[in-house]
């Protein structure tokens, strides 16, 4: 007989009502609030029914990580502590997730790189941990400024990777992210990225869901792999695939498990489309020139489009919200009429342009730039200038702006 027990409608110890997430996100009244990105992360976590959050200081995520500590002190989070390094923190997150907890953490730049060994392990162990990545420089000499290069390293870990443009994206996607991550046919970690400072340290109006509603708790027994809590029979469990066996069945086991992880990334597609209303957002895709971007570069693209409109040049926009699973089909369709595809990025290598080039026909249409890095801002004028050059129009030198 089906289990009809449900916590929906009951209250947690803070008096918040466990609410059907779809209703909470799409039907409940929203209150406009003026918050920094870091404060928005805290407000999302207040509503996330999170069991364990593990923190470590690194700019620009330190403020958010500390604010969540305040939530713990208020009783909204099951447990919270500061780990000793990002490598340790991501392992502590894994331990908590293996033990059946809903887990949250935040990191940035060099921290992401230091912790890197953990991420394919998270995916391989099917741990639906949510990690906020507030991107910053990873180069030497030392930089704390915004730069999205670290996302390139996350793309092949088997994690879901989303790239928020605004604090509103952040608020909604943190809560929706758990719903996608924790689906039994997905059950993978999520790297929810944003551009550090631009999103974390600026204030914006964000429409918040009611503070007395929260997500239903995580049910670890819906996991496709056993939860390590000794609440189910443990006989000869092979949580790990065969190690160090040099035979065909061992290779086949490893191979099929890796394929399964990536198949789970694919299976997240339908859930992500439902919650995020598509993996991409588009405007004016019938234009000859289209800007394709993710993160803050989308906002700069919007400004550039406005400036171009003033000069009578029509330009379309594709906002790439989700990088894994990769919205290849959507981007192919959205750019099919474009003669020029402009990909502005906040990193030196242009990883987004490379992904797009590998996806669409006639990839010479892709213009991998403008790119800024190391904390430089991207004035919309340089996007405008780049587009006008591509169209064979003369542009005024940036230096003349005064």
């Amino acid at each position: 007989m089906a289990d009809t027990h449900s916590v929906i409608g009951t209250k947690n110890k803070k008096g918040q009502t466990f609410t059907d997430t779809w209703k909470m996100m799409n039907e409940a009244p929203r209150t406009p609030s003026f918050y920094t990105g870091s404060e928005v992360i805290k407000e999302a976590l207040r509503r996330a029914s999170c069991d364990v959050m593990i923190a470590y200081p690194i700019t620009p995520q330190s403020e958010a990580a500390a604010l969540i500590g305040e939530l713990f002190a208020e009783g909204y989070i099951g447990d919270y502590f500061r780990g000793e390094s990002e490598f340790a923190v991501m392992s502590q997150c894994a331990g908590a997730a293996f033990g059946g907890a809903r887990v949250f953490t935040t990191t940035a730049g060099p921290g992401t790189m230091r912790a890197m060994e953990n991420f394919p392990m998270w995916s391989g162990a099917r741990l639906p941990i949510q990690m906020i990545v507030t991107c910053r420089g990873i180069n030497s000499p030392l930089s704390i400024q915004p730069d999205t290069l670290e996302i390139a390293y996350l793309l092949n870990t088997g994690m879901l990777v989303w790239h928020a443009e605004t604090a509103q994206d952040f608020f909604d996607w943190i809560l929706m992210g758990y719903m996608v991550s924790e689906e039994p046919d997905v059950h993978l970690p999520l790297a929810l990225c944003c551009d550090g400072f631009f999103v974390t340290h600026t204030k914006d109006v964000v429409n918040l869901t009611p503070a007395d509603m929260c997500l239903p708790p995580y049910d670890p027994y819906r996991s496709p792999v056993p939860c390590m809590d000794m609440e189910c029979p443990p006989v000869r469990m092979m949580r790990d695939p065969f190690v160090m066996k040099s035979n065909y069945i061992s290779y086949a086991t490893h191979a099929s498990w890796q394929q399964e992880v990536w198949a789970a990334v694919e299976r997240s597609r339908k859930h992500t489309i439902k919650w995020l209303n598509g993996l991409i957002e588009t405007e004016n895709t019938d234009a000859e020139v289209i800007i394709v971007a993710s993160g803050t570069a989308v906002s700069q693209g919007r400004e550039a489009i406005r400036l171009l409109e003033d000069e009578g040049i029509r330009c379309g926009l594709v906002k790439v919200k989700v990088l894994r699973p990769w919205p290849g089909e959507e981007i192919r369709e959205a750019t099919k009429n474009a003669k020029h595809i402009i990909v502005p990025e906040f990193n030196v290598t242009g990883w987004l342009a490379k992904e797009i080039k590998a996806t669409i026909p006639n990839s010479e249409r892709v213009h991998a730039g403008p790119r800024v890095c190391g904390g430089m801002t991207m004035p919309p004028e340089i996007i405008v200038s780049e587009i006008k050059t591509l169209l064979g129009m003369t542009t005024v030198s940036m230096a003349t702006r005064g």
Binding site: G78, G83, E84, S85, F98, A125, M230, P233, P234, V235
Partner: protein, 301 residues
């Protein structure tokens, strides 16, 4: 986990693996006085292993698993190395994730279990080699102790990297010639037991695994103290007979030779004041229970 959970539906009994059937019929889940003497009389919580013939690590595994006070609610955390060849065959939940992060995993795990099962006992026991504990994972080993995380750390000290073929490790003796120590190791064996004491462990023992009764005692003490008070550390000599040039039958003698009072694995123990108090209380309760049982038996007679 209640012992009821491992029962098999009658309809499915014949298709279940025989080691599962044995576990239901004759394992020691829930047996309060379980210990090393159950070995041979009941189903062990370890089903085969792929270690070398005569490896003292396999003895250590069997004694430890027989001695856990509460295996039905114990989760173990391992690391990469010879132990990771054994864990998939162990009938308690166990986690292998990366090399050296075992105490970080255990920290997160113990906290998650405390959040999810308030008021219930869920023991966490780490078991890893000396490379994982002292070299690559030292940071996380110590930090878990500083934070007073309530779990037991067991280090299988074989004084080298065995699984990768016998390279120098921090717990190797000074002067020992090994791979990556071509002119002999140049610095002393790291004194982790002393470091453990200074780092806040409430119970620290260094010994060999030559005596099963001793292993039973220290495992029970370590797990109970970790459950009630704070971190505990056991460093057990499990020589790699292969890499020190011994034969399969010589492991036990090697341990006996190394535990003599003047040798480097002479029994060493540290117990904090709160831990001493707990052990005294446990001993008193045990005595009371035995007296009551004796009285009951006398009445029955």
């Amino acid at each position: 986990m209640s012992k009821e959970r491992i029962k098999i539906s009658e309809d499915l009994y014949d298709i279940m693996p025989s080691d599962y059937q044995d576990l239901v019929k004759s394992a020691t889940y829930g047996k309060e006085d379980r210990g090393w003497k159950d070995i041979g009389n009941s189903k062990e919580l370890i089903e085969q292993h792929s270690l070398c013939a005569g490896c003292p690590e396999s003895m250590a595994f069997r004694y430890i698993l027989a001695s856990l006070p509460n295996p039905e609610d114990t989760v173990m955390v391992g690391s990469t190395g010879c132990t990771s060849l054994v864990f998939p065959m162990v009938a308690v939940h166990n986690i292998h994730s990366l090399f050296g992060n075992q105490n970080a995993i255990a920290s997160g795990l113990k906290r998650a279990l405390s959040v999810r099962f308030p008021g219930r006992t869920k023991d966490v026991v780490v078991l890893a080699g000396d490379g994982a504990t002292v070299d690559i994972g030292l940071d996380m080993t110590l930090q878990a102790w500083f934070r007073q995380e309530k779990f037991t750390t067991i280090c299988f000290d074989n004084e080298l990297y065995a699984n990768t073929g016998g390279q120098e490790s921090g717990l190797m003796q000074k002067g020992f010639v090994a791979k990556m120590a071509p002119v002999g190791k140049l610095f002393d064996k790291v004194r982790l037991p002393e470091i453990a004491r200074e780092s806040g462990c409430h119970y620290v023992v260094q010994c060999t695994v030559s005596k099963p009764s001793l292993i039973e005692k220290v495992i029970k003490n370590a797990v109970m103290i970790a459950r009630e008070i704070g971190p505990t550390y056991l460093q057990l000599y499990t020589p790699c007979i292969l890499e020190i040039g011994k034969n399969s039958m010589e492991g036990l003698q090697e341990m006996r030779d190394s535990e003599k009072p003047t040798e480097r694995f002479a029994y060493k123990e540290y117990i904090s004041e709160p831990a001493k108090q707990l052990l005294a209380e446990m001993a008193a309760k045990d005595k009371e229970k035995k007296a009551a049982a004796k009285q009951l038996a006398a009445q029955g007679a």
